[in-house]
Each structure stands twice: as C-alpha cells, then as structure tokens.
C-alpha cells in the first residue's frame, strides 16, 4: 500500500527523536479521531514499557509480569485486526484494561461535530482523515512489534475504500473539488481518482449502459469545455507578469492595490459593454449622425471640458432620442435606457455585496488581533516575494518590528493618566481640525459652484473663455483631493497612535469624509440648482462629471509625480533622513474609490463615462507601476493587507455605491427630466416610463400578469412593507445565531484549553512514572545478573527511589481505579480526560466523606490503610523505614492484613465488584508471599487469573512489590 506509506513525512530524524514516542505509539493504532490518538498513546504508556523501548521493557520483568504484559499488549492488537468499523473497536476498548471509555466520548463528540453540515463538510472530514493518516503513518515503514504491517495495510485499505465510496456518492463536480482538496500528493490523488472512476464505471456498466455512457461522455466534454474556458480566461488575464513582478518585489499589500485597480477595471469594462451594447449601439445603428448644430465645431478644449461639441454626441444623456426605433424590430429607447441603467446598478450592487460578504467572511470575522507574535512568526512571511533586495528589507523590517514590539510591551504599562489625557487632547484637536478642514472644503465648493452658476448661461454655443471657466470647479475639487489628504497624513505623524492599524483607520475615515462631503455638496448643487436652470440639465451634470473624472485623472498623475517622484528625489538627494518613500496603499486605494464613485454617479447622465474610466484606469496602472518601481520602497510595516482590502470593498459599497445609487434613484424618481433633450423628454419623471409601458402592455392579450405584478408588487407599499419586515426578522434571527455561535466558540475554546491542561497533567504523571520505571527495570536486570553490584549501591538511595516509585504508582493506581468506575455513557463532554478527572474527583470526595463504596477500590484501600496505621501507630513505614526495616516490613504486612480485613467487610456489605475482589486476591497472594519466603513470592500471582479490569491494579501492586523487593535487596 504505497499510497499512504509514502507520505511526505518520511524522515529518518523522526525515528531518532526522543519526543516522539507518543506519536509513534499512536501511529500504530488507527482512529477516526485525531485526539484519540494521544489518548491511546497515554494508554500505551500506562501499560508499562512503551513500544519504543519494548525490547528492553519486556524481558526484565519476571515471569508472571511478562505474562500480564503480553496479555495487555495483545488487546490493542486485537482491536486493530478486528476493527472493520469503528463502533466495535470502541466497544472492545471499553472492556479493555483501562479507561479508554472516555475515548468513545471523544469519538462521539467528533461525530457530532463533523457530519453536522452534511455534504459541505465532507471534504473537511476527508481532510481531517487524511491529515491524521499522514500524522499517524509518518514514516512509512511501521516496524513496531505490536502491530504487523498487515494490520496497518488493512486499515489503510479500509480507509481508502471508505474514501472512494464517499467520493463515488458525490456528483462529478463535487468530487473533483473534493479530490483537489485532499491533502495528498498528486500520485495518491490520481490513484484515488482512478479508483473512483473505475468503481463508477463498473457500477454503471451493470445498469443501463448506453445512457450512462452518454451522460458520462457529456459530462466529460462539459468538464473539458469548462477547463478550456478557464484556460482561455487565464490567457486573457491582464498583467499576469507585471502583477507577479510587483508581488515579488513589494509584497502582497502593495499588490492588493493593483488587484483592486484591476478589479475596478473589469467592473468598468462590464458596465461599458452593457451601456454601449444596449443604449449606444442601437441608437448609432438607426441614427448614425449626431445632430450637431451647425455653429458648433470641435475645438480641442472639449477633451478637457467635455462641453461644446461633445454635448450633442452620444456621450451624454442629451444625445439620446426618446423615439421607438423602427427597423427590423422595434426598440424603445426610453425603456432601454431606463432598464439598462437600472439593471446595471442592481448587478453592481449584487456583485459588491457578494464580494464584500465573502471578503468579510474570509478576512474579518475570524480575525483576532491578539496573537501578534505568532502571526508575525508563522504567517506574516510573504512567500510570493522573490526579489533579493525586498527579501533583505523585509527581514530587516521584521526584526525592527519585533524589537519595537518587545520594547513597546514594557512601555505601554507606564502610561500615566496625564499622558493619557494629553493623548486624548491631541486626538480631539486633530479630529476637530480635520473635520473643520472637511467642512471648509465643502463650503468653499458650494460657493464656488454658485459663482460658476452665475457665470454660466444656457446658450448652445459657449465662448472659449466660458468653456475654460467651467474647469474651475473640477480643478479646485481635485486640488483639494490632492492636498488635504497630505495634511491628514501630516496630522497622523503628530498623533502617535498606539497601533498602526488605528492610525490607518483614522486616515481612511478622514479621507472618506472629505471626499464624500465634497461629492455631497456637488450633488446637492446639481440636483437643486443645475436641474432648475438649464434646459438640458442632465447633459450639464454629465459634463461636470466628465470634467471631474478627467481632472481627477490628471491630478492622480500629478500626485504620483509629486507624491512619489519628488519625495523620492528629496529623500535620496536632499534629505536622506526622510528616506525613499513608501507606497501609501490606503491613500491610493481611496483615490480609486473616489474615481469609481464619480463613474457610478455619472452612469445616468453620461452613459459612456465608463469608457473614460477604463482608459483612465488602464493608464493609471502603468503610471503607478512605473512610479512604484522607480520611486518607492516596499512598505516597512507589513500590515494586515487582507483586512484592509475588506475595508476598502466595504467603503466602496457603503458610502460610495449606496450614495451614487441614491443619487441616481432620486434623479429618476423625483426630478423632472429636461424637456428639450434626452430619452425622457416630456415625462414627469424618469420612472413614469415604466407606467407608460405597462399601460401599453395592458392592451396586449397575454401580458396581463406583467400588469398585475406592476400594480400589486412594484407600486404597492404593502409589498415593500412586508419585504422590509421579513428582512428585518431574518436579520434579527441571523444576528442571534451569530451571537450563539460566538458563545459556542468561546466555550469550545475553553474546552480545548481544559483538555490541554488535563492532558499535560496526565502526561506529567506518566512521564514521572516512566522515569522511574526504566530505573527499576535496569536495576532489576543488573540485580539478576549480579547481585553484588547492586549491593554496592547505597541503601538509602535505593529506598528513596522505591518510595518515590511507590508513591507515583499509588497515584497512578488511584487514577486508574477511579477511571475504571463505570461512568454514565451519556455524559456530553467530549473529553476523556475530563471524565477521568471527574471520576477521580468523585473518588476523592468519597474519601473525604469517609464513605465506603464498592465501586471505589481506592477509598477502601485508603481507609483500610488508615485503620491499619491507626493500629500500628508506633511504626509508620515511610518515616522509620530506614531505621527499622524489619519492623517496617512487618508493619506493612499488618497494614495489608488490615486492609484485607476491611475489604472483606466491605465485600460483604456492598456489591462485590470485580475490581475489589481481584484486589483482594492480589492482597491475599501478596500477604502470603510476604509472610513466606521473600524470594519466592514472585511467581505466586501468576496463578491468579487476572481479568482485564484488574490489570491496572495488578500493575500498581506489582510496582509496589518491586519497590519493596528492591528495598529488601538493598537491605
């Protein structure tokens, strides 16, 4: 079974590693549960000699001990071979020596967790299974003694068969996705895939073959078609090489700007295609010559102003007619214009909402700012960086950041109240200042617009000066957009935000406020002033937007010249202290967002504005690329780019798209279209075009349903009321679900923490146990070989060890005994360890209450011992051991007797449990042995049938005996 054994984990180092015993022992067993692996490992430990040092471990323990070892070791082996499906082996396990009953709890918990989402989580489960498989068969040649290769092979075959079966059950598409997600090498995936295909075809051949063949062929050809489409899309993909280069040099965060730019470009290409295809082409086909007044000619300035000649072309709203174009088919321009814009806006909104939601889901919901160091260490490195200089710089930056954060940690606690107040005052001051700046900009734009409105006339033919005057507003607006953000960046330098992220947020919020307030003022002006003054006001607004777009473009170029080129020159030549500038992703992205907002607002007034936008973004890409590679250095802080990107998409949606949409909707619903030009001339508002159309439809038979929908759905308030109500209810429910999930996450995390604590506690115990076992083993070996050498050892030393071992063993014994207590199987916690803990605690409680219970052998023992000790107070074995060994041993014997007595009484009173009876047997045997000759006691217990439940106890007894044995030998 090469497919699993060749897991990429093979490494000789694995075999040599000391720390791996847990893993290795668990690697032999096969679980359906990742956590259970460790449990089993624990079980192995407590069984005695761990498998890794098994050879040493087996031999030295005398006769009956070895027997019992073998017996116990055979249990898991049996499990391995008998396990066709998981339930049976879990069952077996419950009857086995010890306490994997909790193991079944584990499994229950996973089975609850995993299949909860039936098909969606399947891949996850495979992933889990295969991951486990990799970690369980890490070295490919499991040569451990206890488990034959056959067993493992069977296991893996089973596992693989299950996987194949699950895969076969899926649809083709899901199956491919699932196979792709499997964490295996391509070879293994191919193997699985071929098996699945073979399985499928064999199954199908039994059924109606012809149809199956056909469908298979069809689906195959569809799939190939899909792949070739994907290939084609990749061929069309823009700037692949450039993107790779930028990512390789500047890292992902800078690259995200370019990705965003490209995304916007695609958006605009789409909107251009829609507008051009449904509005412009039909018009041009039927009426190719624009009806330009004879006295208007192209003067060149139009490229900047968009006025004059352009006003009469299809560039603006005014250039479209309101006729129904009559050709081979009738084409209603009014309806086409309205529905194209409306559908485009809706599609944009949906696309934005989806990308925003998925981005939030991916990047924001789970994000946790607390784990900073781990993040910096393990996931901040950008694997896409391939440039040597960039790598060096990144390493430097990371080092500086780490040093900073180390010192910051110490600093932050020292912040006094007055300092805090000072910081707060600074923030407040700068926020007031920046808000004041924003308000000032808005106000000045408003007055400027009023001034422009006084200058402008509604004439068809403007003089050059008049035309040039229109450039004033866009110039000022763009200038503000360029300069004021620089001030904001400057403010940021003084504010000393504690975290880089907060600093960026502050910057972003201020910039967005500025841009949005400027746009809001402009919109207000267009809606309220321009709409009343000009005869063809939509075109005027379109022109204004055109100018804004063009000027924004020019200033973006200027900005990258001044912002990046000049500061590069200053940084390298004049003031080396400043250094080479960094590429400010936040500022640049906000500029893109602003540009896109303009394009959205303009879509109604100037349907071909996306064309300008495409051109602009295309040029901008290259300018920014050149500016970046020539002038900038990679960002010093590798901020969390993915989150920033989410925020940018959210910003693009919330103030920008929603603002543009409401502006367009307001225009369409409320404002009266101009009477001289445009497709909606003569109507009260744009929306009434739908009413007119519906009235027309009313006359046509067979289209009554459209009318009905219009009357009862589109125009009815109750419908919208109900819809909003339902949406609010759904939002509320989801909100509650989210809250519940959050609580669940907290609980689950707490559970993991608890399990970890329990695990480490038990591991500590086991390790200390293990530490003393090899000691004894080795000692016994040497003792058997040569008794003299042992005699040379210090008496007290041997005794101390013996005592220690005994103590630990007793603790272990307690743990196991209580673990062996039948626990109600419906306890819902998934943690085996917690159960064990609980049981142990219960046992302690019982001790505390001095209540005898048949289920707790431990409490019996303790009580019995107490009794015995009460009787024999003069010689307590642990204190007077060294001084008076003979007395002590007799005291121990007496104590044992007392214990036995107590147990017999208990046995008479309570239900005789197998545990206590076996213990009694052991005690008896031991007592006999102790009273007789010491060297002879060893074989005695072999005669005892040692049932499974008692072996832990026997082990403990054994160790105790050994301790005594050692002590005696030492003595």
């Amino acid at each position: 079974m090469t497919s699993y054994s060749n897991g990429a984990f093979f490494n000789p180092a694995y075999h040599d590693s000391e720390t791996l015993e847990i893993d290795r022992s668990s690697s032999k067993t096969h679980h359906t549960n990742p956590y259970a692996g460790d449990d089993r490992a624990v079980a192995h430990y407590s069984t005695g000699p761990t498998s890794s040092d098994d050879v040493a471990g087996r031999v030295p323990w005398g006769g009956w001990q070895e027997e019992s070892w073998k017996g116990r070791e055979s249990i898991p082996m049996g499990l391995m071979s008998t396990r066709p499906g998981s339930p049976s082996w879990q069952h077996d396990l419950n009857h086995s020596t010890f306490q994997i009953p909790p193991g079944s709890q584990y499994d229950r918990s996973t089975s609850v967790r995993l299949p909860s989402a039936p098909s969606g989580n399947m891949t996850m489960r495979w992933r889990g299974i295969t991951m486990r498989r990799m970690s369980m068969f890490p070295n490919g040649n499991p040569t451990h003694i206890a488990f034959t290769e056959d067993a493992i092979r069977n296991e893996m075959e089973n596992e693989e068969q299950n996987l194949v079966k699950e895969l076969v059950a899926l649809s083709t598409r899901d199956r491919i996705l699932a196979i792709r997600d499997l964490p295996m090498s391509v070879d293994e995936k191919k193997h699985i895939r071929s098996q699945v295909l073979a399985f499928k075809s064999s199954k199908q051949s039994r059924q109606f073959t012809c149809f199956a063949d056909c469908s298979e062929n069809v689906s195959l050809s569809f799939r190939r078609c899909g792949y070739s489409l994907r290939s084609a899309r990749q061929t069309l993909e823009l700037w692949h090489g450039i993107m790779k280069e930028i990512g390789g040099t500047f890292g992902t965060s800078v690259l995200s700007y370019f990705v965003f730019l490209k995304w916007l470009l695609m958006f605009n290409i789409f909107s251009f295609l829609v507008n051009f295809g449904f509005i412009t082409i039909p018009l041009l086909v039927f009426d190719p010559s624009p009806n330009i007044p004879p006295n208007v000619s192209f003067r060149g300035l139009e490229i900047l102003t968009g006025a004059g000649y352009f006003q009469y072309t299809v560039m603006y709203y005014g250039g479209y007619s309101n006729e129904t174009l009559k050709g081979p088919v009738e084409y209603n321009m009014q309806l086409a214009y309205f529905f194209t814009i409306a559908i485009y806006m809706v599609l944009c909104g949906i696309a934005l909402i989806f990308s925003m939601a998925s981005s939030f889901k991916k990047n924001y919901v789970l994000a946790d700012p607390s784990s900073n160091k781990a993040w910096q260490l393990l996931s901040s490195w950008d694997f896409s960086i391939t440039n040597e200089k960039a790598v060096r710089q990144r390493k430097n930056n990371l080092r500086v950041q780490l040093k900073e954060s180390l010192s910051e940690k110490a600093q932050r606690e020292l912040l006094t109240l007055s300092e805090k107040l000072k910081h707060f005052g600074v923030y407040l001051g700068f926020w007031l200042l920046s808000t004041g700046l924003t308000v000032g900009c808005g106000a000045s734009i408003y007055y400027l617009c009023q001034y422009e409105q006084q200058q402008a006339t509604d004439a068809a033919n403007w003089s050059l000066l008049q035309e040039a005057q229109t450039l004033l507003v866009p110039f000022v607006v763009s200038l503000m957009n360029l300069v004021v953000p620089l001030f904001y960046s400057l403010f940021n330098k003084f504010e000393h935000y504690s975290s880089h992220r907060r600093q960026i947020y502050a910057l972003v919020v201020r910039n967005v406020l500025l841009k949005m307030s400027i746009l809001a003022v402009l919109c207000y002006y267009w809606m309220n002033v321009v709409a009343k003054k000009f005869s063809c006001w939509e075109s005027m607004v379109g022109q204004a937007l055109y100018r804004l777009v063009i000027f924004d473009f020019l200033f973006l170029m200027l900005g990258s010249f001044f912002g990046e080129f000049l500061s590069n020159v200053i940084g390298t030549r004049l003031l080396p202290r400043l250094g080479v500038p960094e590429f400010d992703v936040a500022r640049n992205v906000l500029e893109l967002i602003y540009a896109q907002t303009l394009a959205w607002i303009g879509i109604y007034f100037s349907p071909l504005l996306p064309a300008i936008q495409i051109f602009k973004l295309f040029i901008l890409f290259y300018i920014k690329k050149v500016s970046l590679t020539r002038n900038c250095q990679p960002p010093r802080r590798s901020g969390r780019a993915a989150q920033m990107q989410t925020i940018f998409i959210a910003l693009l949606f919330l103030p920008c798209f929603v603002g543009a949409l409401s502006m367009v909707a307001y225009t369409a619903w409320i404002l009266t279209p101009s009477e001289q030009c445009g497709p909606f001339r003569g109507l009260n508002n744009t929306f009434s075009v739908v009413g007119v159309w519906i009235d027309d439809l009313g006359g046509i038979p067979g289209s009554q349903w459209v009318v009905w929908i219009y009357q009862n759905v589109i125009k009815s308030e109750i419908f919208y009321f109900l819809i909003s109500l339902i949406i609010i209810v759904i939002i509320y429910i989801f909100w509650q679900v989210t809250q519940g999930r959050k609580q669940l996450i907290v609980l689950l995390r707490q559970q993991i923490v608890n399990e970890g604590k329990d695990k480490s506690f038990l591991l500590d115990k086991l390790q200390s146990l293990q530490k003393c076992q090899p000691d004894k083993k080795s000692k016994q070996k040497t003792q058997k070989k040569d008794e003299h050498s042992l005699g040379g050892q210090s008496n007290s030393n041997a005794m101390v060890q013996a005592l220690l071992a005994r103590q630990q063993l007793e603790e272990e014994e307690e743990g196991r005994d209580t673990g062996g207590v039948p626990v109600p199987s419906d306890i819902s916690t998934s943690s085996a360890l917690i159960q064990a803990m609980l049981a142990r605690q219960r046992a302690y409680d019982q001790d505390g209450d001095e209540r005898l219970s048949s289920s707790s052998a431990l409490s019996q023992a303790v009580q019995a011992r107490q009794m015995a000790e009460g009787q024999e107070t003069d010689e307590y074995y642990s204190t007077d051991f060294s001084e008076n060994p003979i007395n002590t041993s007799s005291a121990v014997a007496q104590a044992m007797q007392a214990r036995q007595r107590a147990e017999e009484e208990d046995g008479a009173d309570d239900l005789p449990s197998s545990v206590s009876s076996v213990m009694m047997q052991v005690m008896q045997a031991r007592q006999i042995a102790e009273e007789e000759d010491r060297p002879q006691w060893v074989p005695a217990p072999t005669q005892n049938p040692s049932p499974a439940g008692s072996s832990a106890l026997i082990q403990a007894m054994l160790a105790r005996q050994q301790a005594q044995n050692e002590y005696d030998d030492g003595y």
């Binding site: 060749n6 990429a8 984990f9 490494n11 000789p12 694995y14 590693s17 720390t19 893993d23 996850m124 992933r127 991951m131 196979i179 997600d181 964490p183 090498s185 391509v186 070879d187 995936k189 191919k190 195959l220 799939r223 792949y227 994907r230 290939s231 990749q234 992902t252 991916k362 990047n363 789970l366 946790d368 784990s371 160091k373 781990a374 993040w375 260490l377 393990l378 996931s379 901040s380 490195w381 950008d382 694997f383 896409s384 391939t386 790598v391 390493k395 990371l398 080092r399 780490l402 040093k403 180390l406 969390r640 993915a642 989150q643 989410t646 995390r749 993991i752 923490v753 970890g756 480490s760």
Partner: protein
C-alpha cells in the same frame, strides 16, 4: 505549443486538472519549468510517466524559490523521500498547494509541515527559533529570539503543552486572514 500532445496524453491532463488547481495550460507551463531545471534529466515526453526526480539543489534555484527563506523546507515538505528530490508530480503538487486557488485548510497543512523543521508533528520552540532566525537573518540576540518564541507559543498554544500542535496552528491560521494571500507563490 505544437508539441502539446506529445508531452501528456489527454487523460493525463484530465487527471492533473481534476487533482490540482491548475489548468492544462498551466500544467504544460509547469512541465516546461520543470524541464528547464534539468534538461538532461527530464524527458519532454511524459506520456508513459517516466520515473525521474530533480534534486533539491536545482529546484531551490528557481527564481520563485531562490530568495525564500524556507526554500529547502518547502521542497522537502513536498518530496516523498523527505530529502527534497521532487518528481514532476510532486513538483506540480507543490505549486498547486501554493497556488491562489488552494483552500486555506490545505495550505495550512503544508505550511505546518514547512515550519515543522524537526518533523515531529509539533511546532516546538526550536522550530520557531529556526523560523525566526530565517526571517530575521539571525540578527536578533538569543534572548530576544527566546522571548519572541515564548510569546508566540504563549499566544497560539491553546492546550498548554508549550508547543504548537496542528490544531493550534490551524486555529491561528484561521485568525490570520493574510495567510491565504501570503502563502502563495505565483508561477
């Protein structure tokens, strides 16, 4: 690309497309890159699945990996023998996992392997120290390295065993959204 058909059969390409996140074109491009690494070793004709491997030293010299501080670990993690010799399938596998399309869970598994220097299925302190030294050109003092690693473990270790198991690591990764974009090599 007239010789397209001679490199792989259609069935092979289908299998690759089904099993990786690449299209046939990318597979062919990858083959080209693989062939470039060792023109004398790697045949152009892969229709009968020749058994050849390119050694680690040649692979880590690819421009995509050359400057990566973890280049050796990446290649080793994807090689069957653990020594870094990659067959073409493993080569494809490597870039498939590192591609943009690969899901977070898959990437996390291999990232864990890459950071697990001593291959003990845990990211222990030594692993983190090695990672850190590779990330900082070994310019931090040993005390700082210690401190940072301890902090990192403290932050990410949920079960308190003072080393990071895969569960810890995955948990951390799901909270670090950038991982998806940074654990990515464009080919």
């Amino acid at each position: 690309m007239g010789n397209k058909q001679t490199i792989f059969t259609d069935e092979q390409l289908d299998a690759y497309q089904d099993c990786t996140f690449f299209t046939r074109k990318e597979i062919l491009r990858l083959h080209g890159r693989y062939h470039e690494l060792a023109p004398h070793l790697v045949p152009m004709d892969y229709t009968n699945e020749p058994d050849c491997k390119v050694p680690l030293a040649l692979i880590v010299n690819m421009p995509e990996l050359k400057e990566n501080p973890f280049r050796n670990r990446i290649v080793e993690s994807f090689s069957e023998d653990g020594m870094g010799n990659l067959s073409f399938n493993e080569f494809v596998d490597m870039f498939s996992v590192l591609s943009e399309m690969a899901p977070r869970e898959l990437k996390a598994i291999y990232a864990f392997k890459i950071y697990d220097f001593n291959v003990d299925n845990y990211l222990c302190k030594e692993d983190l120290e090695k990672t850190l030294n590779r990330l900082t050109k070994e310019e931090l003092t040993p005390e700082e390295v210690q401190l940072v690693c301890e902090k990192a473990i403290e932050e990410a270790d949920l079960d308190g065993d003072s080393k990071l198991s895969f569960a810890d690591f995955e948990n951390m990764i799901t909270r670090a959204p950038d991982f998806l974009s940074t654990f990515h090599i464009r080919i």
